[in-house]
């Protein structure tokens, strides 16, 4: 995907979350956003997801500026798949219904067609036996995998992951990361905010290190993780890779 950010600023009640982010990328299929908490990673992802409008600056994805009015924002959001850290699924719906809700309501599927297609997807990701369960009956890892299936089901242009494993224990983290790696192998494009540095290094083409609302360092993932240039990134990697 081609991504162009031009001086993006976002403030919340006087706190500057994004402080002039500029970036021009083409050809990256998977991008990892890393950095300390409060550095602006999640805010940037929410801007790209069409959930927050920047206060200043412009965002272009594949040469199309991000829309700003309500109607076009809704159709923009329908064209991408976003997965948050937790509580993605609606608690009153079964896993299957969670997957079919956007298909039927936002993408014009007939109910039966949506059911058949969603079951096929759940089956492909070894979740078919959980189709009739509500989120509280699923483990955290299963919930996240269903949420990812829901995001993939709409055939999105690309996926956005906001710390998809931060609320999970190590075993479940592995099953979710395996699924994301599988999507990567299928050639699906995504941007991921993550604290799993080993994973980011393995699946991302490009890495962006954000700190205090600015891009501190960015580059091809292999270089970024192996030969960091800035003192900030060196210190950050030193800390997170220590244990």
């Amino acid at each position: 995907m081609r991504l162009r950010l031009d001086g993006v600023v976002k403030r919340f009640d006087g706190v500057t979350a994004l402080d002039g982010i500029s970036l021009s990328l083409s050809g990256a299929r998977s991008i990892a956003l890393i950095g300390p908490s409060g550095g602006g990673k999640s805010t940037l992802l929410r801007v790209l997801a069409g959930l927050e409008l920047p206060d200043q600056g412009g965002v272009e994805i594949d040469d199309v500026p991000l829309p700003t009015d309500g109607e076009s924002l809704i159709s923009y959001r329908r064209s991408i798949g976003t997965v948050f850290q937790s509580y993605n699924l609606f608690p009153h719906l079964t896993a299957l219904e969670n997957v079919t809700l956007p298909l039927v309501q936002a993408h014009g599927y007939a109910k039966e067609a949506a059911n058949g297609y969603a079951m096929e997807l759940l089956d492909r990701f070894q979740l078919a036996s959980h189709a009739g369960k509500r989120p509280y009956e699923l483990s955290g890892g299963q919930q996240q995998r269903v949420a990812i299936v829901r995001a993939v089901a709409i055939k999105p242009r690309f996926l956005l992951f906001d710390e998809p494993t931060s609320a999970l224990d190590p075993e479940m983290t592995a099953e979710v990361l395996d699924l994301i790696a599988e999507l990567r192998a299928q050639g699906r494009e995504f941007i991921i905010v993550t604290h799993e540095m080993g994973f980011a290094k393995r699946v991302a083409d490009h890495g962006i290190f954000l700190g205090a609302g600015k891009i501190v360092e960015e580059g091809p993932a292999a270089e970024l993780f192996d030969t960091p240039h800035t003192a900030e990134l060196k210190a950050f990697l030193g800390k997170v890779l220590k244990y």
């Binding site: 959930l51 959001r77 948050f84 609606f90 009153h92 809700l101 936002a106 509500r134 709409i154």
Partner: protein, 266 residues
């Protein structure tokens, strides 16, 4: 004491989950009813009162027609109050500020003043000015506006209890605001507000008795009249209590049934 014997009289609980076997429930209900019967039969046995059911029985038709009127008024104002309550709750979230504050003022005014005054003002002032002469229509609407204010607060609290993350999830899958309410918010709100809503409906039915002051010929007014004709106070008012119970108990049972149906941990 053995576990089984213990369970005849005591519920075993673990957190919010309770386990009550069928025989425990039967024994519990029967002993509670027995205790109540004991207290009241003692109280009534000490009463020196000449019961005269025959005089009241002659007016049984009045009880039936009054009860039916109360049923009709309650049912109509129940439906109307739901619509009004929903509209008021949504107005609290309206981006159009005059509408939002109209909703807030409405709720505060209705909840802060006696229903008795509202009935008088609506009937003798507002309805009169707008040319609505039918006391049954005015009575039903007044009740609906009264209960609507409470229902609006119940619905508002229900809507606010649906977390921000749910709304974000609804937005990222591309639901419109209407679809978000229809498929994400309301199904969850429904389950959470059923118990307080049932309580409000039961109150609404009992509050309809106040319409007797504008001569709506409902259940209470008919009982008062029978009392005036026969001077048999107890015989006139005891059937009244039973008649209201016959309306409120089914609502309470229906609410419990729906609560079970919509149950899921969250």
């Amino acid at each position: 004491m053995s576990r089984r014997r213990f369970q005849i009289l005591f519920a075993r609980s673990k957190g919010n989950h309770e386990e009550i076997p069928r025989f425990g429930r039967t024994v519990g209900v029967i002993s509670a009813l027995f205790l109540l019967a004991l207290v009241f039969s003692f109280a009534f046995s000490r009463l020196h009162y000449g019961w005269n059911w025959d005089a009241v029985y002659q007016y049984r038709q009045k009880f039936v027609s009054g009860w039916l009127i109360t049923l009709a008024i309650s049912a109509a104002s129940l439906v109307a109050s739901l619509i009004i309550g929903l509209a008021a709750a949504l107005s609290h979230r309206s981006p159009f500020l005059p509408l939002r504050y109209l909703g807030k003022v409405y709720v505060e005014l209705i909840r802060g003043t006696p229903l008795l005054v509202q009935i008088l003002v609506f009937f003798y002032v507002v309805a009169d000015a707008f040319g609505i002469g039918n006391r049954y229509v005015v009575g039903t609407l007044t009740l609906a506006f009264f209960a609507g204010a409470y229902i609006s607060e119940i619905i508002r609290a229900g809507i606010e209890s649906v977390g921000e993350s749910q709304l974000d999830s609804a937005r990222v899958i591309g639901l419109t605001p209407y679809q978000t309410y229809r498929y994400v918010v309301f199904p969850q709100v429904m389950r959470r507000i059923l118990p307080p809503l049932a309580g409000q409906f039961a109150s609404l039915i009992k509050d309809s008795s106040l319409l007797s002051i504008i001569a709506v010929s409902e259940f209470t007014l008919n009982a008062q009249e029978v009392n005036a004709f026969t001077y048999s106070t107890m015989e006139s008012y005891l059937p009244l209590a039973l008649g209201y119970l016959a309306l409120t108990l089914p609502i309470s049972m229906l609410s419990k049934y729906l609560e079970r149906r919509y149950r899921y941990a969250s």
